[in-house]
Structure formats: structure tokens, C-alpha cells
């Protein structure tokens, strides 16, 4: 029987090792992916040194210059299909490599990223005097400053030791003024515009009638009068904003690009600056934190490829919260019904299986339902009943995608998650507790209200958090029911009624989709996509970890307190 030469070796050990490969690969995949996203997402904010590259004699020039300045972003082999026979035959493998450079200055160069054959590069230096400026438009500028030209005619040369300090002072001043302008334009002018739009719709609506009754005539006159009043209120504000805008052009920076071109730009165009080649680690950390903070709180610029993601983050949070508001009472109510009130039998068992399976129905199916039912059917009818004016003018209010419909759609999608976990939590409350309460004379509802629900609250919370995590990361149904790449206003703001359920909104997941796939220069958008991905992943993973932790904690608690 034990004829084997290795009788002390249990058979099949080889396969055990083989199965361990499955786990190893799975773990490597998830750790690798998360690591990759974190690394790339974090790297976006880290200030990188700016290199000045000198091209070899005879190599193709960049805009007529042998010298280029930029951040070296990657080095990779050139696509075999694009290699010339000479390159293929060359002994030095460097010839078949290319370097990607972030050169910035898009208004001058046309593209932010440029590739150079590694074999053409003569030398790489990191000059101290380079200034990296983030601008309102056209992305970053990597420049050698020449001088500051102030409004009063004074000129501060870059070699002047006072230059960096003065430059920073003006930047602070310019940014403060920009914030003030935004406050006027978004705040006070925004409010006026909001009312104006409404009145103009009224006016258009009345003007459609060929003949007006005297009452309608009076209405029209009044509407026009109010439009005039708003116009009168608007003009001084607009003038004030304009005046401040003009002051943004008081001071100018004179600078030189690595290619030798000289440019002059108003300081008001600049958002932020740093000296990338003069930073120690502490500076870099400071810069990193600044970038990260700006990314979270700033509005996007340049078709979402620059600036921050505040509206997307805000939209995601508002949508998820609205969704939880809808999903919690419905899910909990349905679960209490199924577990505590419904007569347990084959029917309830079938319903339970079906509810469980709903969680596996593709999200796009819920999306198509949301569009057909919420947006077209419900929204269309709400519009017909409450906003006949807007329907008539072809401006749907609720009859188009919006944050309310999006949250309800996702609530439907996640309600099975909440039902299932609430049911589990209710089932985990031991019979003894219930029977004790009933024996003491409590009614059924009193038992549930005072004992069962509190005891299962953490379980319900777990379900809710899982639902939120699923809702926050889901994009496919949102495409159909109200998410947009660039929303003009937030779904919650300071204009009455403060929460605008009908507004379209921005979403982190859709932001990723839009930037990666709809933007004309996906290469330039990549850093933004990675950073947004990092934020979304953090949001979802933190929610999930929270749910898992609560669940593990609960398991232990129940095990300990079992009757």
C-alpha cells in the first residue's frame, strides 16, 4: 500500500501549492491595483523638478530651438511600427526609446505633452530659476521670469532679491480679488440671474398669446417692469465686477520660455506658482498639500482638465445622501414586514429569494427604468401639472434628468441590499429578547421599537453603508438619469429653495468617464483622471471598510451575547 518511495509525503501537496497561487494572484491583483491608483493619484500632486533638455546637433528642433524645458513624465520604447530601418538596426537601444515631456505653455506650444527620441537628447539639466505657474487658462507655464512690470511703471528684475517676495504678494492680492469677483458673480449676480430667467420665461409665455386679456396685459407689464428693476440692480454689480476684473491686469510678468520666446502676461491670469527646482522636501510636502487641498475645494477649469473637482465631489455626496434618505425607510420598512409581520411560508421565501436576486440585476436595467418611469413618466406629469409654462416653452423642469431622479433610481437599485442586511440583523435578535418583552406586556410594535430595532441598528447601518458605497461608485444608470460633465450650478446653494432637486449634477465616476473618454486630449487629462479615481476609490473603500468593520464587530458581539 505504501509502495511510494516518498511514503512520508502526503499526496497532492503540489496541487495545494497550485491553489495557493489563486489566492496569491487575487491578492496581488487587488493590492497592485490599489497601489497603482494610489501611487499615480498621489503623484499628481507632488511637485516635480523641471528639466531643461538640450537636443543633439542634427536632431529635429523643437519650435526652432535645440533647448526644451519640461517635466519628464515617462520613458518608453517607441512603437515598433513607427521605427525607421536605421533605428531598428542601431546598436544602441536608447535610440528606440522615447521620453514624454510635459512642456506646458499650451497657448504657445499647442500641446502640453511632447515626445522626444531618447537618442536625440544631449544633456539634461535642472536650472534653479524656473518658475512653474498655474494659470486660469491654457494650463501651466514653465518659464524663466525676466521682470515684473507694475502698474506704476516700476520694473523689478528677476535677479532682484525682492522679486520672489513681491511676486508672491501680488499673487495673494490677485487671488483675493478673484475670490471677491467670484463671490459677486456667483452669489449676487447669480441670484439676480436666477430670478431674471424665471421672469423672462413668464414674459415669453405671455408673449406667445396673440391677443391678451387685460389681466394678462397687466401681468406682462408687471413682468417687464420687474425685469427692468432686476436689470437696474444687475448693472452696478456687473460694473463693480468689471472694474475688479480690470484691476487684475494691473501688473504684468515678463518671462522667457526655454525655446527663447519672450512673453508678457497679466498677473491676474495666474492662480498659483512655485519654484520647482529650488524646493526641499518640506517645501514639496507643503506644495503637495496645497495641490491636494485645491483639488478638493476648487472648481474645474478648462473643460474639467484643470482645477479641482469640488462640484463632482459635492454632487456625489448630495446624490448619495438623498439616496440614503430614500432607501433607508423603504428598505427597513420592507424588511420589518418580511421578517416580523408577514406569514412565513413559501410565498415569503420566494419573495426573499427574489429580493436577494434583485441585487444582482445589472445597474443599467435600473437606469433604463429610471429614465422611462421617473424622468419621462413622473417628471413629465409633474411638469404638466405644476409647470405648464415651462412645458409650453419646451423647457422641462422635472421632465429631464436631475439629482432627485438619479438618487431615486439608485435607491431602487440599492434597496435590496438594505432589505437583505436589515432582515439579517432582525433575525439575529434572539427570540428570548422578544419573548421577554412580550411577556412583560409590551405590544408587538413596542417590542420592535424599543428592543429589536435598537439591537439591529448596527446591522441596518452596515446595509446602509454598503448601499451608499455601491451607489457612490455606480455610473451606468446615472448617464441616463441626470449626470452631466459640467453643471452650471450645484444642486444645493443659497438661492431659495436651497435644495434644487431638479438640477443636473456632476459626479466623480462620470467625471472619470468624461475626462478619459470625451476630452479631446486624453493624455493631458490623465493626471486629473488618476487623482479623481483616487478620491472616488478612497470614498468607496472607506465606506466599505466601515461596513466590514461594523459587521465584524457585530459578529463578535452577537457571538458573545447569545442567549
Amino acid at each position: 500500500m505504501f509502495a511510494s518511495s516518498q511514503k512520508d509525503r502526503p499526496p497532492g501537496e503540489m496541487f495545494v501549492w497550485f491553489t495557493s497561487m489563486g489566492l496569491a494572484v487575487g491578492l496581488l491583483m487587488i493590492v497592485g491595483l490599489l497601489g497603482f491608483i494610489v501611487w499615480n493619484g498621489v503623484a499628481v500632486f507632488w511637485p516635480k523638478p523641471v528639466a531643461e533638455i538640450r537636443l543633439k546637433d542634427g536632431a529635429p528642433l523643437f519650435r526652432g530651438s535645440a533647448s526644451v524645458m519640461g517635466v519628464i513624465t515617462k520613458q518608453q520604447p517607441i512603437d515598433v511600427r513607427n521605427l525607421t530601418p536605421e533605428q531598428l538596426a542601431h546598436p544602441d537601444p536608447l535610440v528606440r526609446m522615447e521620453k514624454q515631456l510635459f512642456v506646458g505653455n499650451r497657448n504657445t506650444y499647442g500641446a502640453s505633452y511632447v515626445y522626444f527620441n531618447a537618442g536625440d537628447i544631449d544633456s539634461v539639466q535642472y536650472p534653479e530659476g524656473v518658475l512653474n505657474i498655474e494659470r486660469m487658462e491654457w494650463g501651466n507655464a514653465l518659464v524663466y521670469p525676466i521682470a515684473l512690470e507694475l502698474k506704476d511703471g516700476t520694473r523689478i528684475e528677476a535677479s532682484d532679491p525682492a522679486f520672489p517676495g513681491r511676486f508672491s504678494e501680488i499673487m495673494v492680492e490677485v487671488n483675493k480679488r478673484r475670490a471677491a469677483i467670484t463671490k459677486i458673480e456667483k452669489g449676487r449676480i447669480g441670484k439676480i440671474n436666477h430670478r431674471m430667467r424665471n421672469l423672462q420665461l413668464d414674459e415669453r409665455y405671455l408673449e406667445r398669446n396673440k391677443t391678451l386679456s387685460p389681466a394678462q396685459q397687466a401681468d406682462l407689464e408687471e413682468t417687464r417692469e420687474r425685469i427692468r428693476q432686476l436689470q437696474a440692480a444687475y448693472e452696478p454689480l456687473a460694473a463693480e465686477a468689471l472694474k475688479m476684473r480690470e484691476r487684475q491686469n494691473d501688473h504684468h510678468l515678463l518671462f522667457r520660455l526655454a525655446t527663447g520666446e519672450e512673453r508678457r502676461q497679466a498677473m491676474g491670469d495666474f492662480v498659483h506658482h512655485f519654484w520647482p527646482n529650488q524646493m526641499n522636501t518640506l517645501h514639496k510636502i507643503g506644495q503637495f498639500l496645497h495641490h491636494a487641498k485645491e483639488f478638493l475645494v476648487a472648481y474645474p477649469r478648462e473643460a474639467n482638465t484643470e482645477g479641482g473637482i469640488f462640484p463632482s465631489l459635492f454632487g456625489t455626496v448630495v446624490m448619495t445622501l438623498l439616496m440614503s434618505l430614500a432607501v433607508t425607510p423603504f428598505g427597513v420598512l420592507a424588511a420589518i414586514y418580511l421578517r416580523e409581520y408577514a406569514k412565513q411560508g413559501p410565498f415569503v421565501r420566494a419573495v426573499r429569494i427574489a429580493v436577494n436576486n434583485l441585487a444582482g440585476v445589472p445597474s443599467i436595467v435600473f437606469g433604463i427604468f429610471g429614465l422611462g418611469f421617473f424622468v419621462y413618466f413622473m417628471g413629465g406629469n409633474i411638469d404638466r401639472i405644476f409647470f405648464p409654462r415651462n412645458v409650453e416653452l419646451g423647457v422641462p423642469t422635472f421632465g429631464t434628468g436631475g439629482v432627485l431622479w438619479a438618487s431615486l433610481t439608485l435607491a431602487l437599485m440599492t434597496v435590496p441590499v438594505v432589505i437583505v442586511s436589515t432582515e439579517e440583523a432582525l433575525a439575529a435578535v434572539s427570540r428570548g429578547v422578544r419573548q421577554g418583552a412580550l411577556a412583560c406586556g409590551a405590544s408587538k410594535w413596542q417590542t420592535i421599537q424599543t428592543l429589536v430595532l435598537p439591537a439591529s441598528a448596527p446591522g441596518i447601518l452596515t446595509g446602509l453603508i454598503l448601499a451608499m458605497a455601491r451607489g457612490a461608485g455606480e455610473v451606468a444608470p446615472l448617464i441616463l438619469v441626470g449626470v452631466v460633465a459640467l453643471a452650471p450650478s450645484l444642486p444645493v446653494d443659497s438661492i431659495f429653495p436651497f435644495i434644487h432637486l431638479e438640477r443636473k449634477f456632476m459626479h466623480l465616476g462620470f467625471h472619470i468617464y468624461d475626462l478619459g473618454f470625451q476630452s479631446p486630449d486624453s493624455e493631458a487629462a490623465m493626471p486629473m483622471v488618476f487623482a479623481t479615481t483616487l478620491v472616488l476609490i478612497l470614498l468607496v473603500v472607506v465606506l466599505n471598510l466601515g461596513a466590514i468593520l461594523i459587521r465584524n464587530h457585530l459578529k463578535r458581539k452577537y457571538m458573545a451575547s447569545a442567549f
Binding site: 429569494i353 445597474s363 420592535i448 461608485g473 448617464i479 479615481t533
Partner: protein, 772 residues
């Protein structure tokens, strides 16, 4: 003894009224509310189902009104868009209109005539009606012709309502062919109506001394600042020598570049106008195989690339133009066959101007048929004998002229004529195609574009994505689950499981973005490397197990059971790296393509694969999607099958081990078979997830509908198709409802798969419970 005998419950034991009322209220509230919520959630699918139902309905046609026509000599009639002002032309060329609005309407016009612009002396020999341009073609006894266009307009008068107005625009009489001989057949095409040019083409048959002659003329009209200039004849052609028979019917297409002549002997002659000259390209007999091959009628379907023929015995066949592969020319071929009309060929015919439907029949029989799908939308024996019929320009009404001089109007509702089982699941030969195929193409450039709505490529795409995802995910997930549940140290398991579960929560948009913008370029650059890396990964663990098992016990036992995977991680990594580095070497050796022009040799899999297999290679392909979808599927399969394996009662395992089986034997012979139902259910749920995955597929596949399983091309899945097309689909249109149908399919697929899985799991749970 008896409890009931205590009559009085002490006050302190009595329940307060509000408590009881609240309890009663909550009971009703929860019962009602809970049931309502669950019902509401399931109503989703009822709602989606309701959206789909209209797709499978035929046309509904209801009689609207009957009008007496004060003339018994109507040769041609037609209607406007609203059916308010039909026109009638007598065989003598007098034009009348009938105001069909109720007579009390302001400005009611009754029956009134209008000058068609024909000289008194003209004797009409033939009159034809072109629906597509609402034109009358009039030929005279003395060899002249005229085109009279009836132009409808709409005004909105002060007193409200809508008033349809009409006017006649037309050419003067032009001579054609041999002067002085009567025109017996006439056809006309105006390329400016189809936006393909400005040429106008007239074809006319004349009887000259008992012999038929075919003449054609091209006309043109200059466009000036003040509108259209006068029409003038550019050139005329005598095509009699091309005829080869006695012409019986003539058609000219609306691009004005071909003439089709039907002869009395049942042959058809196709004469395209190429480079300024006419020549016969094809002669065919649509009813060649029948005893009597004669043609009773032939008419174009909208778009003028298909002709509906009826034979003298009522057989109905459709011939369409397609590009012949051998000659690379557009030729006619039979594409469809309809049920025959009883009693003989069609006596009337009217094409829809909105789609490929046509109304035809004979006697008192009327039939509305849809060319593309070979479906009869509606047919009926009417209570009157039909002289002529017409479909309204909006495809919302029909009008019949009966032999007893009455006009019968019918309202028609046929919103989705294209839809049907055959469209969605059958092979259809669309116009211009040489063979039937499954095709999805919902939008096109031209007005006469046919929606191609086959769901088959989408279903195949869905299966393709699923198959590649599972090929990759199943082994890893199952091996991982077996190892985690059977061999892994429990203290590791506490962090391993949550880590894998985190993987399930990765938003698919993130996976899609990484797949498309990061992974796809890398993989397409290095396919051999990827293949070798995967092989290296697999072999390394085998090799590792084999080698480790052969070491002396001293070393072998250094790794305690449950720690194997820690040692495997570096080995897997290094072998993966080795495989990756080996890839380019193999590529240089085997996957070399020689450029035929320069003789230059390039080692590149992307070039080699299409060269060698003839299949295309795309950067965004099923291979990449399969890998990335693994991130979504692996954790699901892993978690559920791990649960099933862990829950196998310990008694089984202990018994097997006690009988001397090794841990691997125990696992494979005892644990896995016991948990097989649970593992199967895990696979089903993983499959359900892969089927419904949307964002990864939208982003990483290129979204081209395919019907093959090549790993190096993309695909379009049902779910991606919904996400891509629904935002542009008009509300309640055919495409909108078709997308609902695909959502319903998706739902049914996943719901069924999940239900099977769930039932299996419940069975398994019961089995375990029985053992314990």
C-alpha cells in the same frame, strides 16, 4: 381553575388605549407599506415589460369616414399630410380637391377644381402618379409629356385651426421621343428630391406603328437668385434597341440614374445611366421558376432600391439591388417573398413615404406589408371593391377609392412597423446586402436609412465578454477559494477575505478607465509577454509545489501548512516577470511580418496576428476586457464559493483525514463534491455580474457590434448598447422600446441565473443542516 372566570383585570394590567391604537396602526402600516414597497420594486419589471409590448403589435386600422366623389372617372388620387384635402384627377386631366373637414368649419371649400396647366388641345394618353414627389406624370397622344407637382401648404388662419392649401407647380408640355405618337408608359425621377444631384430623367414608351419604342431624356433646371429657372432638355436617347421585349411597365429611380423596364414576357431589363450613356446591365425574370412567369405589376419601395413584383397568379416577390462580389456592380437579386394574393396580380399599390411598408391588394382585399421583415402588418377584406388606394404621407392613414366612386378613409396606427421577432432575432437581408445577416445599426445618414435592430450581435457580444471574463476569473477565484477555505491559516483569513471583498467594491468606471487608457495600450504592445507571464505564473506554482515536496523534510516542514501562499507570492512575481521578459524574445523569433514592398521584417504580434489568421487586431479588445472584468467577477465567485466550502460540516473533513486521506485528497474527494452546488451557484452569480457589467465594456471595447469570438477585437454588449444609445433615442420611438427590450432580456438572463443559484444554495444549506 379556569382563567376565563376571572372577570376583572386589575387596572394596572390594562394596556393603555394609545398603545393599542399605535400597535394596530403600525401593524397595518408595516403590512401595507412593506408589501407596497416589495410590490413596487417588482413593478419595475412590469413597467419595462409594458414599454416593450407595443413592439410586437401589428397595425391597427379603423374606418374613419366615407365621402361621395362627384365624378365617376377618377384616374389618380392622393392625400395631404393631414388627410384634409385629398386631390382627384380625372382621366381627362381635370384636377379636383375635396375639403374633408366638417362642413361647418369656417372657410369650408367643398369640392373644387384647380387648373392643372394643360392646354385645351392636349389629349391624355397615360397618367402616372409618383408618391414620393406627389407628382402627376401626364403623357399625351401626340408624344409630349408634362410633370405636374401638387404642393400642399399649411396656414394657420386668424380664427384658429389649421387650413391646408394647395397649388400646382409643373413643367410645360415637353416633346419626347418620336413626335406625334402616343405615350403609353411614363416614368420620371428627380435627383434633387433625393439630394443626390440635380438631374431629372424621363423614360417613355411609345407605340410606333405597332412596335414599342423606349425613349429617355435628361432635363435640368438652373437655380437662380430668384428661385428656379426654366426647365430645359439636356439630351435625349433612343433606347429601343435595349428593350428585348414588349414593355409593359417602366420605372425610374429618384436618383434619376437608372431605368427598369418590365416586359410582357415576364423579363425585366435594368438600364443604368453611367457616364452619360445608357446600357443594359442585367436582364432577369422574377418569376422564372413559375409556369406562368408574366409580371402583373412592379413598383418601387421607399428608397427605390427594391421592387415589389406580383405575378399574374398573385405571387409576390421583392428584388433588391446589392453589390455583387464577382462583378463589383450593383445588380438585382431576389431578397424577399410574400404570401400570394388570391386571384391574380395586384391592381393597386402605394408605398409608405416613412418606411419600407406598402399597401397593395386586388378586388376587395387590402394588405399592408413590410418589405424588410416580410411581415404582413395588417390585411382585411373590405366591404367594397377597391379601385385605388394610398397610404398617407405620415403613415397614419389609408384612403381607398372604391369602384362605386366613394372615398373611404381609415386611420392607421402602426408606430413600430420595423419591430418584430424576426427583426430582433432573425437573419435579415437588408437592402444593398448580398446575404442575410444579423446586424445592429440604429442610426444612419439618409432619410431612407433602414434601422437594423438585430439583438443577436449584442447577445453574442455579451456572451463574448462574459466568456473571456470567466475564463480568466474562474480558475483564480476557485483556486483561491479552495486554498482560503481549506488550507489557509485562519488568522490570515481574517484579513484576506475583507481584502478580496474590497475588490468587489471597486467602481466599474475605474476599472474601465484603467482597462482602456492604461492596460489596453500595454497589452496590445506586448501580447506574447502577457501570454508568457500568465503561463509562467501558472507553471511556477506547480513547479514550486513539486520542488518543495521533493526537498528533505527538514526544509519542507519549515513552511508550515497555511503559509504556502506567502512563499508563492515572490515566486509568482518572479516567474511572471520572467515570462514578461521572455515575450519580446519569442516575438522576435516567431511573430515576424515581412513587408512585401520593402522586404523589411518587423517583429510585432499586432501585425502578425491579422496576417496569419486574417482576423483583425484591435487595441481595445475582449482579452483586455476579460482580464479587467476579472476584478469585478473574481471577488464574487471567491466569496460565495469560499463560504460554501467553509460551511461543509467539519465531520466530513475530520472523517476523511482520520481515514488517512491527505488534505488534498480530502479537499478534492470530500469537500469540493459536497459544496459543488454552492460553487456552481457562485459561478452563476459571477456570470450574472459579467453579463450585466456596463462601464468597463463601454469604455474598453470600442463598442462595435460583432458576431465572432476573436479575442483581439472588441464587442458591443446589451448593457453597453443601452448606455450608448438610450440618451439619443426619441421617447417612445422604436429604438427606445427596443432598448427596453434588451434591458428586459438582460434582466431575465441575470434574474434567472441568480434564482437558480439561490435555489441551489438553499438546497445546500438544508443538506448541511441535515448532516449537523
Amino acid at each position: 381553575m379556569s382563567i376565563t372566570s376571572t372577570p376583572e383585570i386589575p387596572e394596572r394590567f390594562r394596556v393603555a388605549k394609545p398603545t393599542l391604537m399605535l400597535d394596530r396602526f403600525m401593524t397595518h402600516f408595516i403590512k401595507g407599506g412593506g408589501f407596497a414597497i416589495i410590490a413596487a420594486v417588482f413593478l419595475i419589471f412590469v413597467f419595462i415589460g409594458i414599454q416593450v409590448i407595443p413592439l410586437f403589435r401589428g397595425a391597427s386600422v379603423d374606418e374613419e369616414a366615407v365621402y361621395d366623389i362627384p365624378s365617376d372617372d377618377i384616374a389618380v388620387f392622393g392625400v395631404d399630410e393631414y388627410g384634409e384635402l385629398p386631390f382627384f384627377v380625372t382621366s381627362a386631366g381635370e384636377l379636383f380637391f375635396l375639403d374633408t373637414r366638417p362642413e361647418d368649419q369656417p372657410g369650408h371649400r367643398g369640392w373644387f377644381g384647380m387648373d392643372i396647366g394643360l392646354p385645351e388641345a392636349a389629349n391624355i394618353s397615360v397618367m402616372e402618379y409618383n408618391e414620393r414627389g406627389n407628382e402627376l406624370l401626364i403623357g399625351t397622344e401626340d408624344g409630349q409629356f408634362k410633370v405636374a407637382k401638387i404642393v400642399y401648404g399649411v396656414t394657420y388662419p386668424e380664427e384658429g385651426g389649421r387650413l391646408v392649401t394647395s397649388e400646382v407647380q409643373g413643367t410645360p408640355l415637353f416633346p419626347i421621343g418620336r413626335p406625334g405618337y402616343a405615350v403609353s408608359h411614363l416614368a420620371y425621377g428627380d435627383a434633387s428630391a433625393s439630394d443626390t444631384g440635380t438631374r431629372k430623367l424621363v423614360a417613355a414608351v411609345q407605340q410606333v406603328d405597332g412596335r414599342a419604342e423606349l425613349h429617355a431624356a435628361t432635363l435640368s433646371q438652373s437655380r437662380t437668385l430668384f428661385g428656379l429657372g426654366p426647365l430645359k432638355e439636356d439630351a435625349s436617347y433612343d433606347l429601343t434597341h435595349l428593350l428585348g421585349g414588349e414593355p409593359q411597365a417602366v420605372l425610374v429611380n429618384w436618383e434619376a440614374n437608372s431605368i427598369v423596364v418590365g416586359n410582357a414576357d415576364g423579363s425585366v431589363c435594368y438600364i443604368p445611366f453611367v457616364n452619360g450613356a445608357f446600357d443594359v446591365r442585367q436582364r432577369f425574370r422574377p418569376f422564372e421558376d413559375l409556369p406562368d412567369p408574366r409580371i402583373a405589376s412592379m413598383h418601387f419601395v421607399l428608397g427605390d432600391v427594391s421592387i415589389v413584383f406580383t405575378g399574374v397568379n398573385g405571387d409576390m416577390r421583392v428584388w433588391s439591388l446589392y453589390r455583387d462580389a464577382a462583378s463589383d456592380m450593383r445588380l438585382w437579386g431576389q431578397t424577399k417573398k410574400f404570401p400570394a394574393l388570391a386571384g391574380g396580380g395586384a391592381t393597386y399599390y402605394s408605398p409608405s413615404l416613412r418606411n419600407k411598408a406598402f399597401l397593395t391588394g386586388r378586388g376587395d382585399f387590402a394588405s399592408l406589408r413590410y418589405m424588410t421583415t416580410e411581415v404582413i402588418r395588417w390585411e382585411k377584406i373590405l366591404p367594397f371593391s377597391i379601385k385605388d388606394a394610398i397610404i398617407g404621407p405620415r403613415y397614419d392613414r389609408m384612403a381607398f377609392l372604391s369602384t362605386d366612386h366613394k372615398l373611404h378613409t381609415y386611420r392607421m396606427e402602426d408606430k413600430h412597423p420595423v419591430a418584430g421577432w424576426k427583426t430582433y432575432f432573425g437573419k435579415i437581408q437588408y437592402e444593398g446586402q448580398a446575404a442575410p445577416s444579423y446586424e445592429w445599426q440604429s442610426t444612419g445618414g439618409r432619410d431612407d436609412f433602414e434601422k437594423k435592430l438585430s439583438l443577436v450581435p449584442l447577445i453574442i457580444g455579451t456572451l463574448k465578454g462574459t466568456v473571456y471574463a470567466l475564463i480568466f476569473a474562474v480558475p483564480i477565484a476557485l483556486l483561491g477559494a479552495i486554498y482560503t477555505s481549506q488550507f489557509l491559516l485562519p488568522s490570515f483569513k481574517r484579513f484576506v477575505k475583507p481584502t478580496m471583498e474590497i475588490m468587489a467594491s471597486l467602481p466599474s468606471v475605474v476599472l474601465g478607465f484603467l482597462a482602456a487608457l492604461w492596460l489596453a495600450p500595454i497589452v496590445s504592445n506586448a501580447v506574447p509577454s502577457v501570454v508568457f507571464a500568465v503561463t509562467g505564473m501558472t507553471l511556477s506554482s506547480f513547479f514550486m509545489g513539486w520542488a518543495w515536496g521533493r526537498l528533505p523534510n527538514r526544509y519542507r516542514l519549515a513552511i508550515k501548512p497555511g503559509y504556502e501562499f506567502l512563499l508563492v507570492i515572490p515566486v509568482v512575481l518572479s516567474f511572471t516577470w520572467l515570462g514578461w521578459e521572455l515575450g519580446p524574445v519569442i516575438e522576435r523569433t516567431f511573430f515576424v511580418v515581412t513587408n512585401p514592398d520593402t522586404g523589411l521584417q518587423t517583429a510585432d504580434f499586432r501585425l502578425w496576428f491579422p496576417e496569419f489568421t486574417g482576423l483583425p487586431f484591435e487595441q481595445r479588445n475582449a482579452f483586455v476586457v476579460g482580464f479587467v472584468m476579472g476584478f469585478a467577477v473574481i471577488p464574487i465567485i471567491f466569496t460565495i464559493s469560499e463560504d460554501a466550502l467553509t460551511n461543509v460540516p467539519d465531520a466530513f473533513r475530520s472523517g476523511s483525514l482520520a481515514l488517512g486521506a491527505s488534505r488534498w485528497q480530502t479537499t478534492m474527494r470530500v469537500v469540493v463534491p459536497t459544496a459543488s452546488a454552492g460553487i456552481f451557484s457562485a459561478l452563476m452569480i459571477g456570470l450574472g455580474r459579467a453579463v450585466g457589467e456596463t462601464m468597463i465594456v463601454v469604455m474598453a471595447t470600442g463598442n462595435v457590434p460583432v458576431t465572432e469570438f476573436n479575442p483581439f477585437t472588441g464587442m458591443r454588449t446589451l448593457s453597453a448598447n443601452i448606455a450608448v444609445e438610450l440618451p439619443e433615442a426619441p421617447y417612445l420611438g422604436t429604438l427606445y422600446r427596443t432598448l427596453f427590450l434588451s434591458a428586459l432580456l438582460l434582466f431575465l438572463m441575470t434574474f434567472m441565473v441568480n434564482t437558480i443559484a439561490e435555489i441551489l444554495r438553499q438546497k445546500l444549506r438544508e443538506r448541511y443542516r441535515a448532516v449537523e
